[in-house]
Amino acid sequence: MPVVDRQEWDVVVVGAGGAGLRAAIEARERGARTAVICKSLFGKAHTVMAEGGIAAAMANVNEHDNWQVHFRDTMRGGKFLNQWRMAEHHAREAPDRVWELETWGALFDRTKDGKISQRNFGGHEYPRLAHVGDRTGLELIRTLQQKIVSLQQEDEKETGDYESRLKVFQECTVTRVLKDGSRVSGVFAYDRETGRFFVLEAPSVVIATGGIGKSFKVTSNSWEYTGDGHALALLAGAPLLNMEFVQFHPTGMVWPPSVKGILVTESVRGDGGVLRNSDGKRFMFDYVPDVFKEKYAESEEEGDRWYEDPDNNRRPPELLPRDEVARAINAEVKAGRGSPHGGVFLDVSTRMPAEVIKRRLPSMYHQFKELADVDITAEAMEVGPTCHYVMGGIAVDSDTAAARGVPGLYAAGEVAGGMHGSNRLGGNSLSDLLVFGRRAGWHAAEYAAEHAAERPPVDDTEIDAAAAEALRPFSAEVEEPASGPPENPYTVHQELQQTMNDLVGIIRREGEMAEALRRLAELRVRARRAGVEGHRQFNPGWHLSLDLRNMLLVSECVARAALERTESRGGHTREDHPTMERDWRRINLLCRLADPTGGLAATDPVRGQITLARETTEPIRTDLLALFEKEELVKYLAEEELYE
């Protein structure tokens, strides 16, 4: 094996989106020498795609807002499956995290009195989302990026080197978290540009790699979302939590085919856009579930009044939580009342003057004009559900963001599970990134400082094994000529996406999911044979071959957990078990690697790689339960929970 370059750091952050950068800033400010590794260029992470805003109960627009109301909305949105302690931290700390961004140079849209403006969003009782037009994610990532640069400038003044305490390794991919016994010792990575392997030795590793959307065919996620962090954690021995909960955003573009899935921001509805079917009917009024009946308008007139006078009217049902809206659209299309390209109509053109649309939704206007040749100020958009977010993820400690069972491993952002329960509210992800990114960076730095004296060693054999695994695609044909011809990784990927989309999509059935597991096993065998041409320098075929391992692992987690949970809740809808069961509320499903030695027994299609375990959650603290009306709790909590 060739000599692999090694460097020593205190904290390694995998992923440079909102959570990763926030973690890195925190770790560096707490004195840890911090390295950030990201697959894209610095500042290009998927966070830039977030449009609507950052949910934080600052009460700038409606004075009645506070953290308790935000907590309540979050729990309702997640159908009470949330790790309540995370939801509490999140609701309490979000305002501070937003205000802090201003001190780093962020420029949010303003209220008349010069405070941060806040907008309405699905599932939030009050206008709560700090935003910048419809490009809030860009503002967030740029602010964090520029804060990192400013820290580097400070370091340069002191040490003469910008990267002495905080360095970004851009366009690099981590393929393994390295371990010394049970604890973390570093990461193994390759440089996408050169194909060179390297090892960053560190006692703390923060995983902040985002989601898994690229396992689905119709998705709003970018190529980076191959579930890398989920897989790294699994392979390192950490469990994943509630992976069956995948959010399908109700409004993605459906046409033209090449942009199918690209997001149409929820702000379109928050600012007055309405959903109509091919009969021109505002169908959402027919889909308000019982648990939300008192909170939503019953007539179009009342819904329309709400935009002007929210204190005396109830909100229109277009602003129900995302899972409800996605299912409703799905049902309308299925019933034959869809739009020409298989979606429904989302209309702002009849609701606002063209000037206002262009000012409030500039990038949506742009996106439809440029990509679909549709002028949203003059005609309705066609939209349909798109795979958007995974609520499940690495099981973490609510306070420290530490992954369970692997000392030194932390996770924050989309890759971490629990915070959003079975369904995430819009705007809660950006605040999640900031709140838990900071917590992960803080505790990772603390852990690293505690272990500064006895840094975990990195074993050569582990590096050799990781290198061999990463080089497999170049010799796929040579090693196992008997098992079949080499596979095109792009083909395997497309079949995986089709499988997940068709069989483990919005509406799930037992038979289909069993079929999905069978196909996944087949694909796993084929993925072992994925071979690539050319060399290691910026070779996308090779990169995809390596990502396939991760996508197959997380896809299996999603399918197995979805098969196990025999109820419908939030982002998990079972046609064969259409109701929400109070008894399931207390159950978390944990996915673990079947073969913890890490050998991927890919050739055994029956057994699979993932085992499931059920776990009963900790009861919700009583003062938090007291924030809800008894009548509401009855709908979610089992009898015995109520009387405790």
Binding site: L41, W99, L138, Q146, E370
Partner: protein, 259 residues
């Protein structure tokens, strides 16, 4: 509603050399150039290197030159071309090439570091920032920048003169200076940093001859020249070419340089 076969020339190679390679590839309704590049990867050239990410014009990764014009591949629809036309795709030509369509954009990250960051105002805590919308409008326009670096690529100051890269920050980062100088709460001046004169002295504003190519290529439609570069030039004039101020600063600078 139909598909057809388009002819493409795609530059392939690395720093050691390379050239335009011919491809014939299927094009379907509603596709963009990036779709076609992906189809080439999936069917004809699996190791064709290309940088991309969001595919919705929001991240600024897939910058390239299409028929000689700097553009985002994801925002260039195939329908703007004649079906008979051969479409040429090359990497950005102002930066060192890494492989195929991927270039080394490190120049931009270097320049980003050279612009002093936002200076928070003393005595104003988090949550106490008060800014009026009309005061943040200007900087907000510049913060729409997705850092695709097309303006840096097209700017002839560095595109045609490699030797100017050292002295010239490029439109994107001169705009960053403007953004901070127009930020209603930036306290650089109080900390002794004059962004108006450093724009010219440190970041090479004088190299700009306002020929507006940066504005022409900006996929976000930011009026870089009219709203950032020219106002900065005028602000530099305030500092440096106002006869009285100029005289004063000459004397002032001499004493500060010696210290």
């Amino acid at each position: 509603m139909s598909s057809y076969e388009a002819r493409f020339k795609v530059w392939r190679g690395d720093v050691g050399g390379g050239g335009l390679e011919d491809f014939a590839v299927e094009v379907n309704d509603g596709e963009v150039v990036l779709d076609i590049i992906h189809r080439l990867q999936a069917t004809q050239a699996p190791d064709l290197a290309v940088r991309w990410n969001c595919k919705a014009g929001k991240c600024g990764s897939c910058s390239a030159e299409i028929n000689g014009r700097p553009r985002l591949m994801c925002m260039t629809r195939m329908s703007v071309f004649d079906r008979a036309e051969t479409i040429t795709v090359t990497p950005l030509r102002a930066f060192p090439v890494i492989r195929d369509l991927v270039t080394d954009v490190g120049f931009n990250y270097q320049k980003a570091r050279e612009v002093p960051s936002f200076v928070p105002p003393a005595g104003v805590g988090p949550g106490e920032y008060r800014m009026m919308q009309e005061d943040v409008d200007r900087s907000q326009e510049f913060r729409k920048c997705i850092e695709c670096f097309l303006c840096q690529d097209t700017c002839h100051v560095v595109r045609d003169h490699e030797e100017n890269k050292k002295a010239f920050a490029g439109p994107r980062f001169l705009m960053r200076v403007a953004e901070l100088d127009m930020h209603p709460l930036d306290a650089a001046a109080e900390s002794g940093l004059d962004r108006k004169s450093t724009a010219q002295d440190e970041h090479g504003l004088g190299y700009c001859n306002i020929t507006k190519c940066c504005t022409e290529v900006c996929p976000e439609g930011i009026k870089i020249t009219d709203n950032a570069l020219i106002p900065m030039k005028e602000r530099a004039v305030d500092r440096k070419y106002d006869p009285l101020v100029w005289l004063g600063s000459k004397i002032g600078r001499r004493s500060s340089q010696s210290s």
